[in-house]
């Protein structure tokens, strides 16, 4: 299977020290002095990794590994992120959260997965950041400052789950290209912002509107300045839902740079790629939006089921418009050993793009029998729900605990992989952890 190796900090710096500086710390050499120029945010990020405030940061040469990190082969943490995140890719940055780090009711900002298609913007200035609404189906073109968005519209806070469409890709066979996500491209946070529909209505939506697309301020990894990295969106009906947000806060704090600071869309239930980051423009379209990664095979699955390995022409691929019912065991971490007399408490999360999860079951005999878990209601639609159970094991030995969620329509997770698709999306096969029971 694919080995996931973590990227050492030396590796990044050895490849291109200046680029590594810029990428990891948002630090650039000043043209005259070649000294690393630390912006305020970057300084904070670097300080966080070092665990202490860095003094004389302005004298720190660009492209040098901080002394505290030098001489170490240990994997490093991404700026503002927990070191336990698994870095799948460093250009662009993609990192997933191991299941045991998703045990909090709401995913802390530093544990929220990162799926970047390009390079996050530099020099974010809150006073000059604007959001423009335009497009064929917009009654007018209108631009708002951040302050105007905050003052003019009613703020709202909702718990919304975001999951990458390719979460679970790693298991598909034949393999699908792209970041080989295991289980951790998912998180649920309390997002604070305003309803997208309030803004759209303020601008005016023509009756022929069918889709809403976004543009962000990230830049393409190839360095081509004008190349749009990704510009996806949602049907107008989804955009007008009460849970569709333009957000500036995550769990009561500014959104982390890697997750879209200072402004992003949040559409619960859709592939997270629809929730544009570093949001600067929204287009109201009179056709299905056709920005980069809306078309071709990206974030699409075969309209009709296909056999594994089938080549599917573009015109037979349909846009993903909802993430499937899914769950994750967040406690204990896989690999736990316990005594047979002990009951094993398990905890986890379950989520769906449909109305709600109505039950979660677990199995310790590879799906032969299932027992129900205690399930808590969702805080709101598209929030994940917590489940728990206490498990007794009949005898010593090797066990797997499997979890299976079922939604209000009676749709449950499969135990094997769901339908193969060329790009490896929508794997919602039940999560499994390994347990050893000793005498």
């Amino acid at each position: 299977m694919h080995k996931k190796d973590k990227k050492g900090i030396h590796e990044l710096y050895a490849e291109d020290p200046l680029a590594a500086d810029k990428q990891l710390w948002d630090r650039e050499p000043l043209p005259n002095t070649r000294r690393g120029f630390l912006k305020k945010g970057a300084l904070t990020a670097m300080s966080l990794v070092l665990g202490a405030k860095m003094v004389h940061a302005e004298h720190f040469p660009a492209g040098m590994i901080p002394a505290a990190l030098a001489g170490s082969d240990q994997p490093f943490a991404l700026p503002g992120k927990h070191p336990g995140l698994i870095v799948l890719n460093d250009r662009p940055i993609n990192a997933e959260t191991p299941p045991e780090l998703l045990d909090d009711k709401l995913t802390p900002n530093d544990r929220f997965f990162v799926r970047n298609n390009g390079i996050p913007p530099e020099n974010v200035d809150l006073s000059t950041w604007t959001l423009t609404i335009e497009g064929e189906s917009a009654a007018q073109t209108k631009t708002y400052t951040l302050a105007e968005l905050k003052q003019k519209f009613t703020p709202v806070t909702l718990q919304l789950t975001l999951e990458c469409g390719g979460n679970g890709r790693k298991e598909f066979n034949p393999p699908a290209k792209g970041n080989q996500w295991s289980t951790g491209a998912v998180g649920c946070a309390a997002w604070t912002g305003i309803r997208l529909r309030d803004v759209l209505e303020d601008v005016g939506v023509k009756s022929d509107a069918v889709y809403v697309g976004y543009y962000g301020k990230d830049t393409h990894i190839s360095g081509q300045a004008d190349k749009v990295v990704i510009s996806r969106g949602v049907p107008i009906d989804k955009a007008m839902e009460a849970e569709s947000l333009i957000a500036w806060e995550m769990n009561g704090k500014p959104i982390p740079m890697l997750n879209g600071y200072p402004l992003r869309l949040v559409f619960g239930g859709y592939p997270a790629s629809a929730s544009g980051k570093w949001l600067s423009k929204i287009v109201i379209r009179n056709q299905v939006h056709d920005g980069p990664k809306m078309t071709g095979q990206s974030y699409r699955v075969p309209c009709k089921p296909v056999a594994p390995g089938t080549k599917v022409p573009d015109e037979e691929m349909c846009i993903i418009e909802g993430m499937p019912v899914k769950s994750l065991i967040t406690f204990p971490k896989t690999g736990a050993t316990l005594r047979q007399r002990q009951a094993l408490p398990i905890r986890g999360k379950a989520w769906t793009s449909t109305e709600k999860i109505t039950r979660v079951d677990y199995s310790i005999d590879f799906g032969a029998t299932w027992q129900s878990c205690t399930l808590e209601p969702a805080a709101n639609r598209y929030a994940w729900q917590q489940f728990s159970a206490d498990i007794r094991f009949p005898e010593i030995g090797y066990y797997e605990v499997w979890a299976r969620a079922t939604d209000a329509n009676g749709i449950a997770q499969p135990m094997l992989l769901p339908g193969w698709n060329p790009r490896g999306y929508l794997n919602n096969a039940c999560h499994r952890i390994a347990i050893k029971v000793t005498a």
Binding site: M1, H2, K7, E11, Y13, A14, E15, K40, T44, S47, L48, V49, L50, G51, K53, I65, A67, A68, L69, A70, G71, S72, A77, K81, H82, P83, V87, L88, N89, D90, R91, N109, D110, E171, N173, P174, P175, K177, G178, N179, Q180, S222, G223, K227, G296, T334, G335, A336, T337, L338, Q342, A343, L344, P345, E400, L416, L417, A429, R432, A434
Partner: protein, 162 residues
Amino acid sequence: MREPFDNLRPILVTLNLSVLVLIFCFGYLLIGDQVVAMFDQPKPMDMDAYRASAATAAAEDVDRIENGIHVQSGLIYAEGFDIVRGTCTACHSAKLVTQNRATREGWEQMIRWMQETQGLWDLGKNEDAILSYLAQHYAPEEVGRRANLDVEAIEWYVLDLE
């Protein structure tokens, strides 16, 4: 009669205090949010994992090969390595290569996709060498409909249930 100096003392003390308060306020304005942020957030990493020492000569490691792997990039060191590294990592991380598996045809499709949408240039005669390298060293493995849990990779631990 008191010395004028004695009269000045409480004024000087007050002035000094005022200046201190001003400095503190200024400092807070400048770095306050960073300091608050540091206390506000969980410690992001275990510093024990990081040995404080002089910077190692990272440059010397650029060409290090271990167990057939080019350590810096993680790519398999074999015929075609140089051209693959030079071409692929011009834009993206080598990890985007090493975490993927495909047949020669599959790798070719990825190259075409990058050429059509991501600004990859015509690879000319290098394409054959690149495809041969990728197809040989990063070929798919048959894992069935669902693989066993990777028991070898599990770090077993005693769960404290007290």
